[in-house]
Symmetry: D2
Subunit: 344 residues, 4 copies
Amino acid sequence: VVEKQLSQPGGGQGPTVGVIGATGFAGALAAYLLWRHPRFNLTYLTGRSEVGYRHLDLYPRYRVPLTVEELDLDRHGEVEVAVVAYPHGASAPVVKALRDRGVRVLDLSADCRLRSRERYEAYYGSHPHPELLGQAVYGIPELHRDRLPGAELVALPGCFPTAALLALAPLARAGLIADVVIDAKTGVSGAGRQPTPFTHFSNVHASVVPYRVASHRHTPEIEEQLELLGAPLAVQFQPHLVPLDEGELLTCYVTPREPLSAQALQDLYEAAYAGERFIELAASPPTLREVQETNYCRLLAVYDGHTGKVLVFAAIDNLWKGTSSQAIQCLNAIYGYPEDEGLC
Amino acid sequence: VVEKQLSQPGGGQGPTVGVIGATGFAGALAAYLLWRHPRFNLTYLTGRSEVGYRHLDLYPRYRVPLTVEELDLDRHGEVEVAVVAYPHGASAPVVKALRDRGVRVLDLSADCRLRSRERYEAYYGSHPHPELLGQAVYGIPELHRDRLPGAELVALPGCFPTAALLALAPLARAGLIADVVIDAKTGVSGAGRQPTPFTHFSNVHASVVPYRVASHRHTPEIEEQLELLGAPLAVQFQPHLVPLDEGELLTCYVTPREPLSAQALQDLYEAAYAGERFIELAASPPTLREVQETNYCRLLAVYDGHTGKVLVFAAIDNLWKGTSSQAIQCLNAIYGYPEDEGLC
Amino acid sequence: VVEKQLSQPGGGQGPTVGVIGATGFAGALAAYLLWRHPRFNLTYLTGRSEVGYRHLDLYPRYRVPLTVEELDLDRHGEVEVAVVAYPHGASAPVVKALRDRGVRVLDLSADCRLRSRERYEAYYGSHPHPELLGQAVYGIPELHRDRLPGAELVALPGCFPTAALLALAPLARAGLIADVVIDAKTGVSGAGRQPTPFTHFSNVHASVVPYRVASHRHTPEIEEQLELLGAPLAVQFQPHLVPLDEGELLTCYVTPREPLSAQALQDLYEAAYAGERFIELAASPPTLREVQETNYCRLLAVYDGHTGKVLVFAAIDNLWKGTSSQAIQCLNAIYGYPEDEGLC
Amino acid sequence: VVEKQLSQPGGGQGPTVGVIGATGFAGALAAYLLWRHPRFNLTYLTGRSEVGYRHLDLYPRYRVPLTVEELDLDRHGEVEVAVVAYPHGASAPVVKALRDRGVRVLDLSADCRLRSRERYEAYYGSHPHPELLGQAVYGIPELHRDRLPGAELVALPGCFPTAALLALAPLARAGLIADVVIDAKTGVSGAGRQPTPFTHFSNVHASVVPYRVASHRHTPEIEEQLELLGAPLAVQFQPHLVPLDEGELLTCYVTPREPLSAQALQDLYEAAYAGERFIELAASPPTLREVQETNYCRLLAVYDGHTGKVLVFAAIDNLWKGTSSQAIQCLNAIYGYPEDEGLC
């Protein structure tokens, strides 16, 4: 068994990057994307378990030959940027420590996403470092691009908020959302690598499983961001597990504040996303096959004259645009590289 | 290759039954259920194709040794009951001819479901025998049980209306529905046995595919029946194809006319379905695994205090409770047999 | 949430039965099959975990309302028959204790299957009660029917040996097997209910995973039984996990001792299985859809003139004919009931 | 709906290439790989159907904006290279016509693969241009690299022969194969884009389907190439459809001519594939997830002391290394580019 590549295929002469928590699905994918990126210099991977294994032993299909190390802030606090892929609660102390050492951080957890401590604590319990709340740029480049260049702390959104906000932003900014129901269908990878009764093949296969009924943690995040976009409202968000691995499709049912022509709707979305590299306005309903293992978000907005509602469909890969490839997109924006560098 | 069973395992000394259109998924399942039923005497199967094949050559897992015949109304109009499993448009002339010969008919197509010709024609085009509209009992025993004994013509509902109406009937009857969004996730068997780009494995696998956006033919049927139950409104109904074969899960988002306590909601559903053999009020969200290949409809109604909406989840097997086993349940009700005879 | 059925739907006035280890996949299915059986009186279920839960809380689709109890041999040793569904090693002591109390036992584990202690220990480690080896009837009715009536201890075969032996018995008895390769494709349920990296949806989905290369524990069992049938040889057995839940298909590549005509081959299988209720000789290659959730084994034997080899395909449901429904078939045989009672 | 990219992302200033038959799975993927390739200049796509559609309307996930044209040899015979992705029988006349015009051709069909007309006709019927047989380089770079630079006609192997030959070549060259059984498990994409009962989701889902029993057309191709490698023998090759889209896993059961130590086996494979960019010798059994959507072939060879057989597992993506990405690898070799250009 011979190693094929000991150096980064893309070159990697640019900023040094480490991935903290590279053994879970999101961190492992971030490591893969950084490894093949033409600019970033991936210098270490850490894990809370499986220390000493090579990344490619855990994820053969990513073919990253680096070895998983134990986190040592004295050593690992020397990179220029860190992608932190820890669960919420566990992430904040690491983010804090890295920021104290001057390391730029992209946090994939929920710990830096919200501005409101009240919202955080209602859904996640007490926050280990509430001073982090409100400090980060919310990492959807299409919505917060102007704040990304040079940003020191970026909170990557949850996968569902990414799709929901890209789907709803044009309507929210136009003040058109009176009410919204968001019905999500998602693959199992969002539940992580941990084997549980929920992730057991026999639970997922050939079934549809609604979960976290009227209580999903991405709800406050969607609401806070919609409010910032001009649409303060209580959002009905409901996810369903479907038998697939990667990808999520959201169907948003919007009751508009005022009647809207099909043409006006189309114009609104085209204006909002003109020139966006990773947003595709589809002519027919988006499907997951079209976005899996890509950084694309594919959208279709339809006005239903029968009910007067607007339907917006959004498809993304939850691990890519919903998490890790969006982190790379943000990194590119931070450093002024083309946003699609390493992602096409 | 030896035949195992040439006579009906259940006995079948009761009323003679034929299945017209027994080569498609719904008709084939109806034949299977009648073959193993302890009462009905299944005397023939017809097909518009594959005449001369045995049912078990086409559907080995059903193990029905009867041969598919060409429809001959002179011969086949002699049974006591016929289950007609033809596509809409093609069904009406056959139903008409059988009724003219005095045969009791259970029609699985859309041709006898609606009362309003206008609604039919808006979604299906011109009706070959509009005089059939409004003549049939709408075959959901839980909602129309009193009209079933002795009924001569029963229109089996669409699979989505079955689940939607069982989910919403308690709220509709109580006059509580101000608005409703119905988001459906369904397996591919609802699209039938015909190989098409839609039913190709590569289209369905690992994907979610929204289809018939804001235009599905089950919409008018749901609306007409809700109106009869006391809830006249425009329904937002949207189906999505998910990677599985049999089963559908509907998530209904109801805006209630007035605030509703969780207890009141639970009482409403328990009162509505007390003693119903095939309705299960679940303690946690229903999933498809729990209802596949059964006549059960599994429901959960939840009040979301955050948004003030009511969520109702309904899971059925689209081919069973959504079509063919419900037809058997109706047949049992017509003849005064226990409703679960041959179905448990 | 109202209970629908507190008594056994089938009646259950016959012999009292308990299922020990009813929370795993095999025990849970055995409980379901016994609950709906028209003769047996299912009096208790025990579990090594989840004591106090109802079976239907763990397996809603089986709808068995009994509560899982902790095993108490003083109480539970009073039934007439026990189905023991424990892992190997854990099973033997329970089987021993029950036999000491005069309880008839059907053991689903490996602990009573083999005759050779050497073979057992080479694959499973030391045996807690080696005196049990060689005591049980090997529970494939089609091969050992004469020893089943009144049997006090039956060892249900592994799922792979069931299919392999039904596939190969006619050739083995005729002394025709010079060499055999058995390639198995199986669903994940054979790996049990425990969430592990192996049973995680992301491991199984869209993949094929060979496992236990040249070392599967069912190998010695197949070899010992083939030897008894007249074919002592080293068997190449190799399983592969495929993305489905229940069912296994074995492809057996036999090098025959002498040339064999296609007709002779067909005659051999028809003679071997004439009148067998649950063996189907298929005209085309068997598939899993045809046997899932049934007690059938579907076979096709083909002579390949190009290579001179015989291919035998065997399809069964690993949890049904491969384990739990075969146990019911054995129970029926023990008590002299029709073998298909409660299984069709 | 705005086009994102009208020029090739990779640049494409090199040799002009056309894809003939770009609407099927293999041709569509070849078009995608050429479109994103940094060297080749993809100038046209043709189809036998769907002329006038853009590639991205048919395959949105590939995002190739070119329009499908009708084949016009006068115009389309002007490119430097053509990839022909037609079915066997239909391909030969086009290959002939293109070669007559001096166009370099990579043929994905079976029409140029075999040397023996007898073998071709026994499996495919009469050959429209038998003079093409034996003219092409057989396009597995790992086995025929020396003949590729400057080659004018390359026949891409079938997907199963690619995996089988890479699995068996080291043993064949060493004269070690006395007998071999090849058991293949494959996804449905190998059956093509045409909707048929075989490719219907309901046929594939949750099942295993053996097909073309003892008669698959890839058998003579494997045999002819093994013979060239030094192992003339009748091969038992048997494919099985499993519920996934892309990928195939072959399990080869080799009876060696002489005993072989585990170390000798490992040395043989390491020597054979040292330095091969796309061959991975795995430490544990290869799985499909590790090779999907890549040009890798992942191998594991194991000696089973119990039976004296050698097992070789080979995993590839049937559409990639099994067809279209291997064509790109060949193109790179023809032109002297790094073999992994555009493929990593």
